[in-house]
């Protein structure tokens, strides 16, 4: 029983990370209708930017202040990177068939991965411990760590903030409008470009934050680290219903849990296959995912 609980905690912890990254995928798909393959690389850049910023400005000792600085730094860096990628690579293709954007996204993703290997060096680096991990208390025989609580907390806070933005603010309403009818929104006085950029920025910031959290917990970072997390998060987004925020979060948590149960009770090497099996089953039986909406195709 204790083992089950441990697996559950691990799963939720990782699931929150998937949720944070999945939000990025789902938001971009909702607004632009394209799968942003490069999102996992923005995640990776979040970790690396924080690494270099921490080194440059010298805040690599554990302290709450440094932790916040790290998060802010990563968030800022990823916002800029996400914004630039959108402007340079995706905007020119906005009116082209979707396949072109997809291919370009793959290209950008590879560019970051291999460029990262060249610029940062392909060997893994050790991420600074920005906050001291402490075993806080015991619950049913399992030690609860500060880092995990922080991960849950930050994820939850991010989701709450995002929900607030999307549902209660003007910008959020504009975003929902653009994702629904981008051809009409300019008539309503909404600048599509600004909204799209805003979407990318928010998604990227979330990914950057997730990256910092993960890197503190698992201090090994390398330019290809986005791959596995990105793939799983993407599956989570589709699982939950691509285009739906709640779907991304629920999908992320469920996928995290599922993976950990498989790992714990089965073979570790089937982990990657699990996400895809879930994905394919969902796509066959409920293609729009858990929370996705069924858009009727007008002939």
């Amino acid at each position: 029983m204790q083992e089950f609980f441990q697996h559950t905690l691990n799963g939720l912890s990782f699931g929150s990370i998937y949720a944070l990254v999945a939000l990025g995928y789902t938001m971009v798909y909702g607004i632009l209708g394209m799968i942003n393959f490069a999102h996992s690389e923005i995640y990776m850049m979040g970790a690396f930017m924080c690494f270099y910023l921490a080194r440059f400005f010298g805040f690599n000792t554990p302290s709450p202040m440094n932790f916040t600085l790290g998060l802010l730094g990563a968030g800022l860096a990823t916002a800029i990177i996400g914004f630039s990628v959108e402007k340079l690579a995706y905007k020119p293709l906005r009116n082209s068939p979707k396949m072109n954007s997809l291919i370009t996204a793959i290209g950008v993703s590879l560019l970051f991965q291999y460029g990262g290997q060249i610029i940062f060096g392909a060997d893994p680096k050790s991420f600074p411990t920005l906050i001291e991990d402490a075993a806080l208390f015991e619950l049913a025989g399992i030690q609860i760590h500060l880092i995990d609580l922080i991960i849950y907390g930050v994820s939850f806070a991010s989701l709450a903030a995002l929900s607030f933005i999307i549902l209660k603010t003007q910008t959020g309403r504009a975003m929902r409008a653009v994702s629904s009818r981008p051809d009409m929104t300019p008539l309503m006085g909404i600048d599509n470009n600004k909204i799209i950029s805003m979407t990318f920025i928010i998604g990227s910031v979330l990914a950057g934050i997730a990256a910092v959290l993960v890197s503190i917990k698992y201090p090994k970072i390398d330019p290809l680290m986005g791959n596995k997390i990105g793939m799983s998060a993407f599956v989570a987004a589709v699982f939950g219903g691509i285009g739906s925020l709640h779907g991304a979060v629920v999908g992320g948590l469920l996928l995290g849990l599922g993976e950990y149960y498989v790992l714990g009770y089965g073979a570790s090497t089937y982990r990657e296959a699990l996400s895809f099996c879930i994905l394919i089953l969902i796509l066959i039986y409920k293609p729009t995912g858990l929370f996705g909406s069924n858009k009727k195709e007008k002939i």
Binding site: K98, M99, F276
Partner: protein
């Protein structure tokens, strides 16, 4: 038919000449190019002609490669002259797998299909990773190769020519036209009585068969395969070749495969020190192409049309 035989004959003669003129490193590149061409052609059938985005061709290649390797090692006891048989079986197995994949998938559109094919390829890869009999993650070693480059060359060139001719004629046949109709406007095509799902499925099976052939030769070319040789990156590389050549252009795929096989090797000679810029070149080409010339080199038309018309910019 006669043209094909003349062509084949001249290429084979060229091959025998090359056998003596080149070292085995270049010979390996030649075979590599032809394998890539077959893979690109196979992807072109489904993504170019049928406009069904497949990100999972590496998985089909893997199925072909492992089938052919297992047959060679275990059933045919390393007789190299049975390699063509194993390659054929590889193609058939991949076709069966392709059929199974296509069963649930073609209700889905566009992006979703891409995801499902990607998922299938990853599942294949993970299954192979766990299959200890074929070495699992450490790979399958000691696969028999053709004893002489000229044999390998003749076989692969013949195969490539057959695949190429098949694709070419497919494109201009009634089946190809069905695919084009599906491509242009699937709802209208359905209204005209075209069974969409069946057509797409057939195209996918054909595509998988060719991918399996490519995989089969691949394993006999390298002598060593591992599940990581068939990752998403490989699917992407095949995609880049098909896109660069032009989705729907068969000769384009072959030429793009040639360029993209030679390019990394040529770049290896560049004195860039410890920087490896070869891997960056691929994505840069891809992005630049998508932004500047998304139809690739030939677009939908073939090399022969290009030579006839002088309109090189528009296509």
């Amino acid at each position: 038919m006669k043209k094909l035989i003349i062509f084949l004959g001249s290429v084979i003669v060229l091959g025998i000449v090359l056998n003596f003129a080149l070292n085995s490193y270049i010979q390996a590149i030649v075979i590599s190019f032809m394998i890539n061409a077959i893979m690109a052609l196979s992807l072109n059938v489904i993504t170019g002609l049928a406009d069904q985005f497949s990100l999972g061709h590496a998985g089909l290649m893997a199925v072909g490669a492992y089938t052919s390797a297992i047959l060679s090692k275990e059933v045919f006891a390393d007789h190299w002259y049975l390699i063509p048989v194993t390659v054929l079986c590889a193609g058939l197995t991949a076709a069966i797998v392709g059929y199974l994949i296509s069963l649930p998938s073609f209700k889905l559109k566009g992006d979703y299909l891409a995801i499902v094919t990607l998922g299938m390829a990853e599942i294949v890869r993970v299954l192979l990773l766990n299959w200890n009999h074929v070495g699992g993650p450490r790979g399958y070693n000691g696969i028999i190769k053709f004893p002489e480059f000229s044999y390998a060359y003749i076989f692969v060139v013949t195969l490539l020519s057959l695949v190429f001719v098949a694709c070419y004629r497919l494109k201009y046949s009634w089946f190809g036209r069905n695919l084009w109709a599906l491509n242009e406007d699937d709802i209208a095509a359905e209204v005209m009585g075209l069974d969409l799902t069946k057509t797409k499925r057939q195209a996918f099976v054909i595509s998988s068969f060719m991918a399996g052939l490519g995989g089969g030769i691949y394993s006999h070319h390298l002598g060593y395969i591992s599940p990581n040789s068939f990752s998403f990156l490989v699917s992407t590389q095949i995609l880049i070749m098909a896109v660069l050549g032009g989705l729907g252009s068969m000769s384009g795929s072959v030429i793009a495969a040639l360029i993209l096989t030679i390019l990394p090797e040529a770049l290896r000679s560049l004195p860039t020190g410890s920087l490896d810029i070869r891997m960056i070149v691929f994505p840069i080409i891809l992005i630049a192409m998508m932004i500047l010339r998304p139809q690739g080199i030939f677009g939908r038309s073939e090399l022969i049309n290009f030579c006839k018309e002088k309109k090189w910019i528009k296509s």
